[in-house]
Amino acid sequence: MLLTIYLFISVLFFIVFSAYKAWKYASMPIHSRLELYPVPKEAGRASYGGSYYEEVEWWNKPRQVSHGNEIKDMLQEMLFIKKLFENHQRLWWPSYSFHIGIYFLFLWTICLLIGTAWPEQAITYLINITGVAGFVLASIGNIALLIRRITDHDMRKYTTPQEYFNLFLILAVLLSGIYAWSGNVLFFLPREIIHQLLTFQALQVDPAVLIHLILLSFMFIYIPLSKMNHYVGKFFTFHKVLWENEPNLPGSKVEKELMEAAAHPPATKWSAPHMNQD
């Protein structure tokens, strides 16, 4: 029963702490503008990096915003890691293999959950496809990233022991998962375990599965505490910094936020002599 509770707690921790991290960034005060072009929501101008500042008296012109463009760019980044592909293709291959593998494993988990309520042949196929693709692609990508980090002089120099630990931890989870789940009937065991978990039963597992589940739970707890929670931060770096170009016009949301911020002046003061002169 302890294992069941541990698994539940780790997943809950993953969700709650990821949400807490997002809340922390979201509740930070309004900042100076630091957008960088191209900003994809600039309708009709994003293709060459233009903005509303290309208009005379821009504040009198209707603002042309394309949320469709923004979503398209966001999806390209999420699904294909577009920036890495465009700027660092050698690293894109292992990184993409790793990330797409994780996406497949996420789908695999959803399929496993669906499979408990809808045990049709179709879902079995989906479980097998997403599971095999997920474990294989994520493992290949992970190993390739590790090799790259170890053999590339420039990357090695900047990699901390913790960053190796992160990659080894995930690799351990993946490899132990492959070993644990590769029975005669593919992915029969995880389906069984998911069923036991959802019905809140004590898990009866062999040592290989036990080791995998302990590692997996530890990973769920560890990820939100480490920089591997970049799935949270990346939303803010793009949407709230690089693509955030809302002007401060009278009556705007930005103006309201600035007024609220002005009502709470900072208590901490800088100390250089000129900072305290009028």
Binding site: Y25, G49, S51, Y158, F165, H230, G233, H274
Partner: protein
């Protein structure tokens, strides 16, 4: 240390005379690929080494950062930095907190940003100039002092750095080896920004430790707040300058123009970088010729800071930036004008339009825009007519980072050049992917000690290469033909002026530089004499 690739961020405290020597540089295109085409780098004087921090790479940007004479002074210096670092993550830095925290938290050290940096590439990938080298030194210090992981686990999380006067001083110098062009941030798969981090390091030095280059602070923002201009030009001198401009215009074009000053009821206030009046008066003069011929209702201001749109504060000190920006808004309000048009100055564009956008609100705020869309409107609507044949020589365009990458003003200046310059050609890359001129973030005005060597030889090198490539074969096959680098930005012009002089490119290959409006006036159908004479550079 011998080879730059062996240097690591944790070496920043290493007790060596010079952490990294610049041995080799990117080979320039022909004819600059031959020996003797450019001056060699010089060693810093011994007296500079004992007084300042020349132990990073031999260059000195921070001429106000002097070595301590006692260990107490050294401890105090380090403590001040740590105090400043704490304030960077407190409410005292609310306006940068979110972007700073994100960049501190997530770097994957994938090195995707490295190749985007013109300084790193110009030095054949010198480790000190790798964008994440500086960030990693900073991150390690932050972890060591301020994160639970760093305090508990030390080396395991990368908090493996010693801190002393030398390491902090070197980090301060390192913050002035980056042009803040943020080209690296454009490439980051996680959207992180080493340029902003560099800006924040400069901020600690200025706002907490009182250390900033003299050219930016004492002879920059402080002088501007005292006299009205970072050039030291006061109101009387400004009025004299305008009289001189009117005489120049009459002498050059035969036109008697009364330049409007402090005209109440004008549609807009035009502001220039005051450096233009002194170094390139033909630029503000050209604006006056165009606006008068187009019949615009415009004015200049003679009130405090109203005649100088520079704002060096955006490069190193938020408080100074705010003081200057608010004073500039005030100048417009005094005239009852609610619209400022920024002349050809890149950082003034960003400071006046983007950086100051959230510094105030309501009645304190004035609407600000770029001159470029307005100039294009005058061309597009045929309010002014041009004869492109007058500009029938090779012209290329430099994209100022502040106007293009940081603001998205890309097409108006191109549209104008395409309309009035038959031999216009782009640099590669251009637009939002451009390279910085090498003068960005204050480098163009920092002339003390041996810093100009760093600028001319290293930070402007990629731009010089782009210029050579833009003119390609014409460069050597036809030295009689004028080649024009159009740079609609004062600081970029300053950097390009020094670069062309350093490489003797004007004397050798007839490469000239200037603004956009000069080309426009030169092509005006109503003007009989050429406006551009290419004799005084």
């Amino acid at each position: 240390m011998s080879h730059s690739s062996e240097i690591q961020p944790k070496d920043i405290a290493k007790p060596v005379d010079k952490l990294g020597e610049v041995y080799s540089l990117m080979v320039l295109s022909a004819p600059y690929d031959k020996e003797g085409m450019e001056p060699d780098l010089k060693e810093p004087k011994d007296s500079w080494k004992t007084k300042f921090c020349a132990s990073l790479d031999g260059f000195i940007a921070l001429d106000t950062l002097v070595r301590p004479s006692t260990s107490e002074e050294e401890d105090e210096f380090v403590q001040k930095f740590i105090n400043g670092l704490a304030k960077l993550f407190a409410d005292s830095n609310n306006n940068f907190l979110q972007p700073l925290q994100l960049t501190m938290d997530y770097c994957a050290k994938c090195n995707t940003c490295s190749e985007a940096c013109h300084v790193f590439e110009a030095t054949n990938r010198h480790e000190l100039y790798r964008p994440i080298f500086r960030s990693e030194v900073f991150r390690k210090i932050y972890k060591k002092y301020f994160t639970p992981g760093g305090k508990l686990l030390g080396k395991f999380v990368g908090a493996d750095i010693d801190i002393n006067w030398e390491s902090i001083a070197r980090l301060g110098e390192l913050a002035y080896r980056c042009n803040l062009c943020r080209r690296c941030a454009q490439t980051c798969p996680l959207g992180l920004d080493n340029g902003t981090l560099t800006h924040e390091i400069r901020k600690i030095f200025s706002q907490e430790m009182g250390i900033a280059p003299t050219a930016l602070h004492t002879k920059g923002t402080e002088l501007q707040l005292k006299t009205g201009s970072s050039t030291g030009m006061n109101k009387l001198a400004f009025l004299d300058t305008i009289e001189f401009l009117e005489e120049e215009i009459e002498e050059k074009t035969g036109r008697k123009i009364k330049i409007p000053i402090d005209k109440k009821g004008a549609d807009f206030l035009l502001t220039h970088n005051a450096g233009e009046y002194l170094a390139w008066p033909e630029n503000p003069a050209a604006f006056a010729i165009l606006f008068e011929e187009a019949g615009l209702n415009w004015t200049l201001s003679s009130s405090m800071i109203g005649y100088d749109n520079v704002n060096y504060g955006i490069w190193y000190d938020d408080t100074m930036a705010r003081k200057v920006a608010l004073q500039q808004f005030e100048a417009a309000k005094e005239l009852g004008i609610q619209r400022i048009v920024i002349g050809e100055c890149g950082h003034a564009h960003k400071a006046g339009i983007v950086s100051s956008d959230r510094m105030t609100y309501g009645e304190d705020k004035v609407r600000v825009e770029s001159c470029l869309p307005l100039l294009w409107e005058l061309v597009e609507t045929k309010r002014l007519t041009f004869n492109p044949e007058k500009n029938n020589f090779p012209v290329t365009l430099h994209d100022p980072c502040n106007i293009v990458r940081h603001m998205g003003i890309v097409q108006p200046q191109r549209n104008i050049l395409k309309a009035i310059c038959p031999q216009f050609r782009e640099m590669t890359p251009h637009g939002v992917d451009n390279y910085c001129c090498g003068g960005g973030s204050g480098f163009a005005v920092m002339q003390s000690l041996n810093f100009p060597d760093f600028r001319n030889k290293i930070s402007t090198r990629m731009k010089f290469q782009q210029i050579l490539n833009a003119f390609d074969e014409e460069l050597v096959t036809n030295t009689d033909i004028v080649k024009y680098v159009c740079a609609p930005c004062s600081n970029c012009k300053g950097a390009i002026r020094d670069m062309l002089e350093y490489y003797q490119a004007t004397d050798r290959f007839n490469i000239h530089y200037g603004g956009l409006v000069e080309l426009m006036v030169n092509a005006l159908t109503t003007l009989e004499q050429p406006y551009l004479t290419f004799t005084d550079e």
